[in-house]
Amino acid sequence: MAVLECKDLCKNYGRAAALDHVSFAVEPGHIVGLLGPNGSGKTTLIKLANGLLTPTSGEILVCDTAPGKATHAWVSYLPERTSIPTWMTTTQLLDFYQDFYADFRRDAAEEMLQHLNIQPRQRVKQMSKGTREKVQLIMVMSRAAKLYLLDEPIGGVDPATRDYILSTIIGNYNPEAAVVISTHLISDVEKVLDEVIFINQGRMVLQASVDQIREEKGMSVDELFREVFKC
């Protein structure tokens, strides 16, 4: 059973089509890159999968279920912008996640926070932007979810933080769950991905495995992206 499936999915904002007849499936155990230029519909797709938006037509399903109360328990979502309450301390944040999500692995989160030397009494607002991103990612990856939706997890952070974020994603790999990472920083993520989905102006351009692209085209996904989306 696919963890995430889109069937002829359309989303219009007024008369503008943000997603135009998109169909694909993401299987369990796969880490998938949702790649496209700015404004291609990546965030819209992720918000639809999360139930924050509703489709204009077509279907989006998480484990064969339309996004709603049930799927919120299975989906772990990292929004584009940091959304953790800044007045909380690390401990309060752990309590908060534990209260909200039955699948929260507190010990895993504590271990990762400790590894980064983040103090339990430190407040989110006292942290640097990079640290906040790391803390939020730790919270998101510490859930034993079926689907992780990461919207631009490595945008706007330094290369060392980027490496940390990517290795945290690999280290928390679960063969029964799927991870969808939206980004335009392709060269940084492509080694981490099983497959990629290219979208442009709301339309799906390609779905293929990273090594399939490298084998058939003799170029990296990053190079192919630059070719396909040449301005």
């Binding site: 690999i170 280290g171 790999y173 080694k191 099983d194 003799g218 990053d222």
Partner: protein, 130 residues
């Protein structure tokens, strides 16, 4: 181990090559247990399924074997490791020769340059090119 990837080849193929180098060079000694797929993937910064695929292929080749409960080990067969070493070396030589030919060097010139670089110039200088 330092992992490096180029853009022009599949990642699993590059992983196979680098693990082979690790085995040949002794970074992964004969008979030693390899780290888990997850740990190797994290260390190399690659997808765990891709790492799994590379290890499965090495296992098919016999350089690595797995024991049901305890994990994957490097082969103890020294001849096999020697063969792998030899084939890695041949590939490097071929790449080198192709690059030199592209630069317009003839076989004799290449040999002379090699001798110079390896400090054997004096010994062979003036010889009949053997």
């Amino acid at each position: 181990m330092k992992w490096q990837f180029s853009n022009d080849a599949p990642i699993y193929a590059q992983l196979i090559e680098q693990i082979k180098v690790g085995i040949v060079s002794g970074a992964f000694p004969p008979g030693e247990r390899l780290p888990s797929v997850r740990d190797l993937a994290t260390e190399a910064g690659v997808n765990p399924n891709t790492m799994q695929r590379a290890l499965a292929e090495l296992e098919r080749d016999g350089l690595v074997y797995s024991q049901r409960t305890t994990g994957r080990f490097v082969t103890e067969d020294k001849t096999m490791i020697e063969t792998a070493k030899r084939s890695l070396a041949e590939r490097h030589v071929k790449t080198f020769l192709a690059a030199m030919l592209r630069l317009g060097f003839q076989r004799e010139e290449i040999m002379t340059l090699l001798r110079q670089e390896t400090g054997e110039e004096g010994e062979f200088h003036g010889g009949s090119g053997v």
